[in-house]
């Protein structure tokens, strides 16, 4: 199903680390490809208008951070990446300029810190994630196989970026005959979550530091670069899995990044402002909670989930009985679901950090998880650094946060740690 969506938005959260200097004001008319804002750190990094239209609203959040820019689309045209027909880049600088003017540079993520990298970056390695493992996530391999020519071209171009090698992480190695040896390595990962997260690949295969960063990119961006270099008009449309509570027509819909989530939910028989629901863009583990100001599809978001919101008052009832751990044997055969509450319930009070086995069962890395988490919450930055915490961002901590009986938020603790390290460098 193709969505008929007329308001399109750019999300500030799709540009982590970018300090936007706006080039437009509310009421301005923009054409597809116009610069909406550039980065104060590096003016070559820009965000482009995905469609032609009028800037409706510019939403800002806490500390005047950019939440979103909403654009009223003038006419329904097939959306696409505005700049097509580039020559295949021969060197790193040419590739950088192609990525910058096509807007694909902002799809790259740097580790440590998980931010959009500066153009001066010299990454040792580039990690291409061609697998997904999160709950409800779609496997990108069918898309890669359909667009194999573009994928190969994009991958060959991306190999110019790192100083050492490009690592392609996927479930089963692909036959990529044309690739030069030594530049590209394929590593197979099992399908269990969190093996699809770039943090898992990066922590296993490298040790990024602020002086020696690495980059991560997803398979779709590689395909889009390949299509751009082939001269094929790249479509920005992707499939979006819309599911959850209170939807009369849940299913797979097609929409482009920036599409209005309210309209997508209406198509699926739900709504964004219904009472007692929580709409999440992305997976329930690391997705973004949708409010009225950020109700646009992000560039990496392929699913919308609707959860029951837990009422703030009222008794817990019989469903508050203790408890079968989902990571235990009895929990795994489904006994847990008899007793557990669904939706956004904390399932317990915030308490001390208890080193339960449940957190270790969801941890894929060799470094011991409890000492790392303790180091993060007690601000023991030396131990956290030594155990490789710089390879992670919040999404890598979501499973241990989910499993923690003390209900700690390790994503928050990790971000505080990363902020301290970043401050130290400045």
């Amino acid at each position: 199903m193709k969505s008929d969506l007329t308001t399109v938005g750019i999300l500030g959260s799709d540009f982590p680390g970018v300090k936007p200097a706006l080039n437009v004001r509310e009421g301005d008319s923009v054409s597809a490809g116009d610069v909406l804002f550039h980065d104060k750190r590096d003016s070559q990094i820009c965000a482009f208008a995905p469609v032609s239209g009028q800037v409706l609203q510019i939403h800002r959040g806490a500390g005047r951070t950019l939440t979103s820019i909403a654009i009223a689309q003038e006419e329904l045209v097939e959306q696409g990446i505005p700049y097509a027909n580039h020559a295949v880049p021969e060197d790193r600088d040419a590739l950088t300029s192609v990525l910058l003017i096509s807007g694909l540079w902002t799809r790259l993520r740097q580790r440590p810190f998980g931010t959009v990298p500066l153009t001066s970056i010299r990454p040792r390695k580039l990690f291409v994630a061609a697998l997904e493992s999160g709950p409800g996530a779609a496997d990108p391999i069918p898309l890669v196989q359909t667009e194999m020519a573009a994928f190969k071209l994009g991958l060959a171009a991306f190999c110019l970026l790192p100083t050492q090698e490009t690592v392609l992480c996927l479930r089963k190695p692909l036959p990529l005959l044309a690739m030069k040896k030594g530049l590209l390595r394929q590593i197979a990962f099992p399908s269990k979550h969190p093996n699809g997260l770039p943090g898992t690949h990066i922590h296993l295969l490298s040790s990024p530091t602020p002086d020696n960063p690495v980059l991560a990119v997803d398979a779709r961006t590689v395909i889009e670069l390949g299509q751009l270099l082939c001269g094929v008009t790249a479509t920005a449309d992707r499939t979006v899995n819309v599911s959850g509570e209170g939807l009369s027509r849940p299913g797979i819909y097609t929409a482009a990044p920036g599409a209005s989530i309210g309209k997508l939910l209406e198509q699926a028989g739900g709504g964004i402002d219904l009472p007692n629901i929580r709409v999440i863009a992305g997976s329930v583990l690391d997705g973004r909670q949708i409010g009225l100001n950020n109700a646009f599809l992000g560039v990496f978001e392929h699913q919308l989930q609707v959860l029951n919101e837990t009422p703030l008052r009222g008794s817990r009832g019989l469903r508050g009985l203790p408890v079968f751990d989902r990571t235990g044997v009895l929990g795994r055969i489904g006994l847990r679901d008899i007793f557990a509450r669904t939706g956004s319930h904390m399932n317990g009070a915030i308490a001390s950090m208890v080193p339960a086995e449940s957190m270790e069962r969801v941890w894929p890395h060799r470094v011991p998880v409890i000492p790392l988490l303790r180091a993060l919450v007690t601000e023991d930055d030396d131990t956290a650094l030594n155990l490789g915490a710089l390879a992670f961002v919040e999404e890598d901590m979501s499973l241990v946060t989910w499993a923690c009986p003390g209900k700690y938020d390790y994503g928050q603790a990790l971000r505080a740690f990363l902020d301290r390290i970043q401050l130290d460098m400045a």
Binding site: S206, S207, R278, I280, V284, D286, G287, Q289, T310, L312, P322, V323, D325, R326, T327, G328, V329, L330, G331, R336, F339, A340, T342, G343, S344, H345, M346, N347, G348, A349, I350, A351, S352, M353, V354, P355, A356, E357, S358, E360, R366, V367, P368, I370, P371, R374, V377, T378, T383, N386, E394, S398, T401, W402, A403, C404, P405, G406, D409, G411
Partner: protein, 341 residues
């Protein structure tokens, strides 16, 4: 981090952001699961205490009433004292606590002889809660299980009180589990998994304790590394002792050592408690194995410590942070070797 949490955050019901749902396991849930798993042991303890007191010919109601009369007041006093102390702690520190006090009072009670005096019992619980749990910051921060601290306090401060079992009118005194095993063996009775033993209310039936341990393990709460490590350590130590050329015949079958005394109870309910166990998996194997073997070694070789499992767990709990630190060092060394040559 917990210290700085305002009170209203402690009762947060909704997830504040990603991840938007949480596991059903909570710290209070873990405490309640441990208590539920040890309930059959308490039932049997009540029954045994009642049948000793009321005599062999008593009816079922008489036995139950006698057992409840003997056990009930002590349990109620301990739970009340634990609750009061934790409320006092909440008031002084201005923060919410969890059900840690409940686990401590409960398991301390299960490790006491059913007819112990009230004053030593209350003093010991106060010691355990205040000096082992609260001064370190509450549940999850104690250096060893606070119930263990309380039991050792009884043993050290009040001598035999913690070790002898005196149930009126039939008085039965065990000075050592080693001697109990000896007397059983000399009577020609082999210790089986289904046999009942006298002692503290919790540790009367090895079968019920094992059932509780199995349940906790399957639910994903108790660490199987601690449990299997402990059983392996005890088995190795007792096999070694019984196979030594000069060993006394009365040591009996090696497997008897695993079932006699409160070794299994301490291993399952105190040793594998997630709040007090080592932080890393290798350290859990080490702690389990060391606890099992030390219990048997101390029991046989040191008659001064008849209830050797308490002392063994104390030693192991105090040593395991060193093993944890070593495991972290090795992990850091391996990581730097892998990535920096």
């Amino acid at each position: 981090m917990t210290d700085s949490l305002p009170l209203q955050l402690s009762s947060l019901k909704r997830t504040p952001g990603a991840p938007h749902c949480r596991n059903s396991l909570s710290v209070n849930g873990i405490v309640l699961l441990y208590i539920a798993a040890s309930l059959p042991c308490l039932m049997l303890g009540i029954w045994q205490a009642g049948s000793r007191w009321a005599g062999v010919d008593a009816s079922v109601t008489d036995v139950l009433a006698a057992g409840l009369l003997l056990v009930g007041p002590r349990l109620i006093v301990l739970l009340g004292l634990g609750f009061g102390l934790s409320k006092l702690y909440e008031k002084i520190r201005n923060r919410r606590t969890d059900l840690g006090w409940l686990a401590v009072s409960w398991f301390f009670f299960l490790l006491l002889p059913p007819a112990i005096d009230f004053i030593p019992m209350m003093l010991a619980l106060t010691f355990g809660l205040v000096f082992v749990l609260f001064v370190f910051g509450g549940q999850g921060m104690a250096p060893f299980h606070p119930a263990l601290g309380a039991v050792i306090f009884v043993n050290v401060a009040f001598g035999d009180t913690g070790q002898s079992i005196e149930v009126a009118p039939d008085t039965f005194v065990v000075s050592s589990w080693y001697s109990a095993l000896n007397s059983r063996v000399s009577e020609g009775v082999d210790f089986g998994i289904l046999s009942l033993q006298t002692g503290n209310p919790g540790a009367m039936s090895p079968a019920l304790v094992m059932l509780g341990g199995l349940l906790l393990m399957l639910m994903g709460v108790a660490s199987h590394r601690m449990l299997f490590g402990g059983i392996a350590g005890a088995a190795v130590a007792s096999l070694l002792l019984t196979s030594l050329p000069g060993s006394h015949e009365a040591l009996g079958v090696w497997s008897g050592h695993l079932l006699v005394g409160n070794f299994l109870f301490v291993l399952v309910f105190l040793g594998s408690d997630p709040a007090c166990q080592p932080l890393t998996r290798p350290a859990r194997w080490f702690a389990g194995f060391a606890f099992g073997s030390l219990t048997i070694l101390l029991r046989v070789l040191d008659p001064a410590h008849p209830e050797s499992s308490f002392m063994a767990l104390l030693l192991v709990s105090l040593c395991s942070p060193v093993v944890d630190a070593a495991v972290v060092r090795i992990a850091v060394w391996r990581r730097s070797k892998r990535h920096h040559g």
